[in-house]
């Protein structure tokens, strides 16, 4: 009888053990429903170009490299994104034909860039594009040139006159 009890106890243990395990080691699926986002960081919200005598001799002034406008972008969109630029000012103080931009930043995979000075326009132009994800912030540097300096008069009483345009950097994905 005693042996039967032990056997019965062992059987119960054997039967209960899997049940106990099932209650404490179940599985759960974790699903991430990812969607594409884009971020833009305008590092230089405004730059000032102050022409010197040499610049007036050349009839242009420019801000290149670190002195230009840095814009950072990133996205998890598999199709990448386009960084576009325009000047939509109703009355641009610097003539659009005199305000030139380019970037030395290499385009992303399957992308393109404006590598030579090109006049800004009121419509968006693709400054830099990538056809792939950009998981970390990438700095896209804009070199800025203002030409025909002789057309921009100084203040009537001497000193300087401010001429400022607003550039809009747009990020879009297909």
């Amino acid at each position: 009888m005693a042996r039967n009890v032990i056997l019965g106890t062992l059987l119960m243990s054997a039967l209960l053990a899997p049940l106990a395990n099932a209650a404490t080691s179940g599985t759960s699926n974790v699903t991430l429903a990812a969607s594409a986002v884009a971020l833009i960081q305008i590092d230089d919200a405004a730059i000032t170009l102050t022409p010197n005598a040499t610049d007036y001799g050349n009839d242009y002034v420019e801000a290149t490299g670190a002195a230009g406008i840095d814009v950072e972008v990133k996205t998890n969109s598999t199709g990448g994104l386009a960084l576009q630029v325009r000047c939509a000012d109703a009355s641009p103080q610097i003539a659009l034909a005199d305000l030139l931009v380019r970037t030395a930043t290499a385009p992303g995979a399957g992308g393109s860039s404006i590598g030579t000075y090109t006049a800004i326009t009121a419509a968006n132009q693709n400054l830099w594009t990538t056809g792939a994800v950009q998981h970390t912030f990438l700095v896209v540097s804009t070199d800025v040139r203002v030409q025909n300096l002789i057309n921009y008069n100084d203040a009537a009483g001497g000193g300087t006159t401010s001429y400022t345009n607003t550039l809009t950097y747009t990020v879009v994905a297909q």
């Binding site: 884009a38 801000a63 419509a123 056809g131 401010s162």
Partner: protein
């Protein structure tokens, strides 16, 4: 040449989620979506929202054009609110977008909702530009189900690129009424079937009725001989499409090569 350039001013940090919505709706049906715009910068900003049309070149360049100027415009079929709002530092705001699928006209419409983000207090500038940001959420509205796409691969070209590189170009046509995306990989194998170069065509949309080409360029660095280029494409259909083209290196001249297609799982 570096002229005297004064210091720059730190600016805007903003995020849009998502960057794309693809909405399938029956004619007359309305759908609502939500766009989240976040000001991750240290200063308050003002957001202005507007709709724009866009066109796509065969090379995949997106060109924004005024709303209502294309045949597939969403103008008049989409409403959004608010159209203007302010966000403090670290704040986020929602834009509610309502789309209504018409019963007639093009079966697929597209556009982009642009959220212009500018500082609430403009940065000072003297002689030079200011910079502001704009983030887009691309919208597709279609009454064609996703399983009724009609991709057609038109060809696979292998050409020399300069003296030391090869360029592989894939041309795809959308013969259907719904947009689809193409993603593709390319591999170059030698006569022993050993893969010697691999790459990706990237990923991009092909609009209804449109043609799009995808290009992959690689330094060849190949020993003279015969090679096989295999392009494996995912167009969203249940089966992958495989295109093959062979070439001899060095390549004597540019040549368009035939495409062979095989369905793969």
């Amino acid at each position: 040449m570096m002229a005297a350039v004064h210091g720059a001013h730190a600016g805007i940090v903003a995020q849009v989620a998502p960057v794309r919505y693809s909405v399938t709706a029956t004619p007359g049906e309305s759908a609502t979506r939500d766009i989240l715009l976040s000001n991750q910068g240290a200063d308050p900003v003002v957001v202005r929202v507007r709709l724009s049309d866009w066109m796509l070149s065969e090379a995949g360049q997106m060109n924004l054009v005024p709303a209502g100027s294309t045949a597939n415009s969403l103008a008049g079929k989409v409403e959004f609110e608010p159209s203007e709002f302010s966000l403090g530092a670290g704040e986020s705001g929602h834009i509610k977008v309502s789309l209504r699928m018409p019963a007639d006209g093009p079966a697929t419409l597209w556009g982009v909702l642009l959220s212009e983000v500018r500082p609430a207090v403009p940065k000072p500038a003297r002689f030079g530009p200011r910079a502001i940001a704009e983030l887009g959420t691309t919208l597709y509205l279609t009454r064609v189900p996703a399983e009724r796409i009609r991709p057609e691969v038109l060809g696979l070209d292998v050409r020399p690129a300069g003296t030391d590189s090869i360029s592989v170009t894939l041309r795809v046509r959308n013969a259907g009424e719904r947009h689809f995306y193409v993603a593709g990989d390319v591999a170059v194998a030698d006569s022993n079937r050993t893969v010697v170069r691999m790459g990706s065509f990237g990923n991009g949309v092909v609009l209804p009725g449109g043609i799009r080409y995808f290009q992959w360029t690689s330094l060849a660095g190949l020993v003279p001989g015969h090679y096989l280029v295999t392009a494996t494409l995912d167009t969203g259909e249940p089966e992958l499409t495989v295109g093959e083209a062979s070439f001899t290196w060095p390549m004597p001249a540019a040549a368009t090569l035939p495409l062979a297609e095989d369905p793969l799982r």
